[in-house]
């Protein structure tokens, strides 16, 4: 029997278009996490404890659960130096869920360390994290190591965080970057809104590639209770 359509055509249209570029899709289903907790492990993502220690990974009815340690703690999943995505032309999408006293930073980056040199990500926190201004709402942040170094650019979306699963879409394009939550455009960082605030200016991303990443961040001054975050879908692709 002949196929009605291939996955290639569904994603990319005609074969006569330029060849499809890199893509990554992870569903976080099944009984075993598709992550590597050590260099010798296999997996679609590498797990890091970029701050503090601890963190446990398990598959649940809500996808992959990342459980923090009981102290100040950041657990990150990324493609670990396989930087196949263009910071001037790629998209990141996910479905994730946070819990009280935990925040999720996610998007594209190029290094596994905390406060990575280049990144573009959505920051969603829900209460508990009073030392940071993103508690209870979602912000959009970029940083580039390209000179002139300007530190972070951070824009509040005006979209409140919730404890429900939410869809994140980040577009890194030539003119700048955008963030949409549950289909609603929340923020744009580009030359077009440069004058909004001195705190809001575009970053020229390096030409180095980036990879998808998601980190689960326990509060800076946490209670001695482990917190859970969930992720059930991540897709990244070059446009």
């Amino acid at each position: 029997m002949a196929l009605q359509s291939t996955a290639y055509e569904l994603m990319h249209g005609s074969f006569k278009n330029r060849p499809m570029k890199s893509r990554m899709v992870e569903y976080f289903v099944g009984p075993l996490p598709n992550i590597a907790e050590s260099d010798s492990d296999l997996g679609a993502f590498k797990a890091h404890a970029t701050n503090g220690s601890g963190g446990a990974y398990a598959m649940t009815d809500s996808g992959l659960r990342v459980r923090s340690g009981t102290g100040s703690n950041i657990n990150k999943l990324d493609a670990h130096y396989n930087r196949m995505f263009n910071p001037h032309g790629c998209v990141y999408e996910s479905v994730a869920q946070l819990t009280y006293d935990l925040s999720i930073n996610q998007g594209m980056g190029d290094d596994p360390v905390n406060d990575m040199p280049q990144h573009c990500y959505c920051m969603a926190g829900y209460s508990g994290w009073q030392s940071d201004d993103m508690a209870n709402h979602i912000e959009f942040q970029t940083q580039s190591a390209t000179a002139p170094a300007r530190g972070y650019t951070k824009v509040a979306t005006g979209i409140r965080s919730s404890l429900n699963p939410f869809h994140t879409k980040i577009e890194m394009l030539g003119f700048g970057q955008t963030l949409s939550i549950n289909g609603v455009l929340g923020a744009e960082i580009s030359q077009f809104n440069q004058s909004v605030s001195s705190y809001n200016y575009p970053h020229v991303m390096r030409t180095n590639g980036v990879y998808p990443m998601i980190e689960f961040k326990h509060s800076y001054t946490p209670p001695t209770t482990a917190r859970d975050g969930y992720v059930s879908y991540i897709e990244a692709y070059n446009v």
Partner: protein, 214 residues
């Protein structure tokens, strides 16, 4: 009538058809999915290596290294779930415009080379042209069919079709060449191989692979 979100099955197939084997692979993330892919094992020889590539649109990279005669082979370790009439799409790019030898497509056997049932895109400028040739093997013999499209060092979307009476090679949606002889006569697996034929590192990057029963 309520409209539902469509399944991949319904997008790929007519409901009256029973779908055969189908794989979609993006070759991205931290590690090659070795639950599916054999990244070499005993078949990869010399200084050859296989791994995901840290570059934009890098995909998986097969590299021979610099020891002459080194071969990198990426396949499913002879788990041949695709019948003799199957198709494959892959997006790939070679590092070199001359010499080296690669077979990319569907093949039976884990050794690579020309002596197994297969339908592959063949590249070896040492004795062929710089076009993408079509190689088919079946019934104990093989045929190289001259391709009409060149561009080894550019990224292309290849599609190979093994049908009952013809094998077709398409490059970027354009018919490259066809063969009606020595069509594959056994089940196959996706397989990508590259040999350097010299003391020069030759690479083959693959960013997408989709194979299915035709």
């Amino acid at each position: 009538m309520t409209e539902y979100t469509k399944s991949l099955y319904s997008l790929w197939n007519k409901s009256e058809d029973i779908m055969g084997a189908h794989i979609v692979e993006f070759f991205s993330g931290y590690r090659v999915n070795q639950r599916v892919w054999d990244v070499g094992g005993s078949q990869t020889s010399g200084t050859a290596t296989i791994g995901l590539d840290d570059s934009i649109n890098g995909g998986v990279k097969l590299a021979t290294g610099t020891t002459s005669g080194s071969t990198a082979i990426l396949d499913m370790n002879q788990t041949c779930q695709f019948g003799r009439t199957s198709s494959i799409i892959f997006v790939s790019i070679h590092s070199h415009g001359a010499d080296g030898e690669s077979y990319s497509g569907l093949s039976n056997g884990t050794s690579g080379g020309s002596a197994s049932p297969q339908i592959t895109s063949y590249v070896n400028t040492g004795w062929r042209s710089s076009n993408f040739d079509l190689y088919t093997y079946g019934g104990g013999a093989g045929t190289w069919t001259s391709g009409t499209i060149s561009g080894l060092t550019s990224k292309h979307a290849h599609k190979l079709e093994a049908k009952e009476s013809v094998a077709n090679s398409y490059v970027d949606g354009v018919l490259n060449c066809s063969s009606t002889t020595t069509l594959p006569d056994d089940h196959m697996q996706p397989q990508f191989t590259i040999n350097n034929n010299s003391a020069t590192n030759k690479t083959l990057n693959i960013t997408y692979c989709e194979a299915w029963e035709t």
